[in-house]
Amino acid sequence: MPALPGGFELPASLRLTRVGSVDAVALEARAADLAGRSIKKESKLLALDLAIRCMDLTTLEGADTPGKVTALCTKAIRPDAQDASVPSCAAVCVYPNLVPTAVARLRGSGVKVASVATAFPSGQSPTAIKVREVEEVVAMGADEVDMVIDRGAFLSGRYGKVYDEIVAVKEVCGAAHLKVILETAELGGYDAIRRASLLAMAAGADFIKTSTGKAAASATLPIQLCMLEAIRDVHDATGRRVGMKAAGGIRTAKQAVQYLVQVHETLGLAWLTPDLYRLGASSLLNDVLMQLHTQRTGRYQSLDYFTND
């Protein structure tokens, strides 16, 4: 085992005393209870505004081109062409080859460039190649790196390999923030998701992230809750705040509000900032804009008034 990365040199007394376990029935019941919160009026406006500020606007397609990415970056900077009071998104998330395009368009805007890396989405490449890929995206100017864990290693019990890879990637990230994608749908249950969450945090993740969006299933409310509880335990034990990114399958403003309510009632207000919470989504933004418009004016607007990018 290599030394723990910066920020995580724990005295033995402060380490998590045990990995702990998760009870699926009670976890899902709590997630359902929180999903039932009724968020109205000004409290909904706050949530919708927050959803945009915490959004990683994402395009991860084989057909992505500089033109497509430039358009998406423009949307991220100013989501609503008609309304300058709508905040910018947190970041634009792209494949490595599109990083220079995104960097060029987003320079000076405050919107970050996030790049997926480490043989996204499978993670099934030699470690050296993954590390090299991260070096390159950082050199091209990515502010954030969304890496995937090696699920093959995790599922075969080679936790050390998973850990070492995260540590190695973190070392070459430099100033870039590291989000570690667990691909929860492939891990086989909440206990494993909790274990992978703690492993990633111990190895130096700045964020833990649910999914690539490429697997059969993506983020769910109980999965996020399971990961938030792991983040809370790390904070309790060490004082360190690790971020959370829910990604995949979040398409409606209503869902986004449910995810935010869960963060609010599990980790508290401190996590309700793009520095510690992200929603990764490709098609969520227009629904949030439409709901925001509706809340403000009391009327629904036709979809033709929101740009498709």
Binding site: S21, R37, I39, L269, T273, D275
Partner: protein
């Protein structure tokens, strides 16, 4: 990582009240006897109020001895016809009632929260759906009674059942009692609780819609005197009571030697037992549900927490943090977690017991929460450093007040859990399956939940040991309380 973008300073949820417009409350109600609304003989009425605002909701009839007699005679007159109906025909009425409860669910949920103070999310998601589920379930049994008890092929109904229900789950307790009584061919005189009669009165309208024959179900409202008159009436064949152990004992004395059958579902002092290998965050959810569900007005509430000493500190810290998030307030607000205490009387009892906890030296903790000015409210409360001999560890508080004790070994957990006069419920939290079974064998409690708490289902029998009462409600067992199960060939009835 330093914050670049500040988090919001606060995120207050805007009020999200369920509309009261779905339900119409009459200014005054009569008694429902023989399928009709009748005036109480003495003309006496009392007010039912909303415990959240203390506003008067309606005037309720005070049923006297004469009214009870009239109701029992109506039930007696309806009995032969009802008992003689083929089971499949009785089932049709029960199915109809169940569907009507579902169709009018919002109305019942709003009314239940208004009259009783429980959060709308509970009346909407638990009380009303479960009440409907009980009618659906027992409808299914109505034509299969001869197969329910092997070796007892000719079960016969008992006659007139006098049913006295509590204020904590007014509609649900009605369903627990009325559904099996009707399925088995009995007729009913029901006495709802004094402080929460409105859903039972609305239920009479469901009976009318369902076309239930007159007199099969009669509802006589009133206070303890009405209940006593029902218990004492010679025309009643069976008494089913849910409520306090004190009243249960007096009922038992009153029916002794009368030949009346009796089932009692009384108090409890349930223990939630958390082992060090439990999923702690989920155990916290179960503990919170166990003690705050329905403001702790639950006979099977997990009012004691027994936690293994090695994780006690961590668990209690998690528990407190979680309890700080509980939202106490308007029962009709969809975001309310804890509603109003049911009555001024109950609030006084909670306050008295909490004071005894302080006086006896336990450490009290309550989250900072704003309570509304009007109405009856009590914040969630956790006592630590509780000794087994404290009153708050032995007596039923019936409020959102949790007493925390610790244990070192499984044997000690069992001993402490069993060491109260009650025996209604327990919860076991551990990831080890064999330990769950080991504990369940040793806990003297009618219900033992494993890694969950306060889960109810019509198929599952519910009832107590010791001072928690006897008899079972729910499931196949629940039928037995309303049937005469003579040996094959002995009985000659044809129900």
């Amino acid at each position: 990582m330093t914050d670049i973008v500040p988090a919001p300073a606060a995120w207050e949820y805007a009020p999200a009240p369920e509309s009261r417009a779905v339900v119409t409350i009459a200014p005054a109600y009569g008694l429902y006897i023989g399928g009709e609304w009748v005036e109480p003989a003495a003309g006496e009425r009392f007010a039912t109020i909303s415990p959240a605002s203390e506003e008067q909701l309606a005037e309720i009839a005070q049923g006297g001895e004469e009214d009870v007699d009239r109701a029992v005679r109506a039930a007696r007159a309806a009995f032969p016809g009802w008992a003689a109906l083929p089971g499949a025909e009785r089932a049709k009425y029960l199915f109809r009632i169940a569907r009507l409860l579902q169709e009018r669910a919002r109305e019942f949920a709003v009314l239940e929260s208004l009259d009783g103070g429980k959060p709308i999310k509970e009346s909407r998601d638990v009380d009303v759906p479960l009440a409907a589920a009980h009618f659906f379930y027992y409808a299914g049994w109505a034509d299969k009674l001869e197969y329910a008890f092997p070796g007892r092929p000719q079960p016969r109904p008992l006659g007139v059942a006098g049913q006295i229900i509590p204020w904590n789950f007014p509609l649900l307790m009605l369903a627990w009692k009325v559904a099996p009584a009707l399925a088995t061919g009995n007729t009913v005189v029901l006495k709802p609780a004094e402080s929460t009669p409105l859903t039972a009165l609305l239920f009479c309208d469901v009976l009318r819609q369902a076309g239930l024959p007159a007199g099969v179900v009669n509802v006589v409202t009133g206070d303890g005197r009405t209940g006593a008159a029902l218990v004492a009436h010679p025309g009643v064949d069976k008494i089913a009571f849910t409520g306090s152990t004190e009243v249960g004992k007096s009922i038992q004395r009153a029916v002794a030697g009368s030949g009346k059958r009796l089932t009692l579902e009384l108090g409890g002092k349930g223990a939630n037992i958390v082992f060090d290998d439990a999923a702690l965050d989920q155990a916290v959810e179960g503990i919170v549900t166990g003690i705050t569900f329905n403001q702790g007005h639950v006979c099977c509430a997990g009012s004691r927490l027994l936690v293994q000493e090695s994780v006690a500190e961590q668990l209690i810290a998690k528990l407190r943090r979680r309890m700080e998030k509980l939202r106490v307030g308007d029962p009709l607000d969809k975001n309310t977690d804890i509603g109003a205490i049911n009555s001024a009387e109950q609030l006084a009892r909670i306050e008295e017991l909490v004071q005894s906890g302080r006086d006896e030296g336990a450490t009290i903790w309550q989250p900072a929460c704003r309570l509304p000015e009007k109405g009856f409210w009590y914040p969630p409360t956790v006592f630590t450093e509780v000794a087994q001999s404290h009153r708050i560890a032995q007596e039923e508080i019936f409020g959102p007040v949790l007493s925390v004790l610790t244990f070192r070994t499984p044997d000690e957990a069992v001993e402490k859990a069993n060491n109260t006069p009650y025996g209604l419920s327990a919860g076991v939290w551990t990831e080890k399956g064999s330990r769950i079974l080991w504990m369940a064998q040793r806990l003297r409690a009618g219900v033992v939940w494993a890694n969950t708490y306060n889960r109810f289902d019509p198929t599952s029998p519910f009832g107590g040991y010791k001072e928690s009462g006897y008899g079972r409600e729910g499931g196949r067992h629940g039928l037995a309380a309303y049937l005469s199960l003579e040996e094959a060939g002995v009985g000659g009835g044809e129900a």
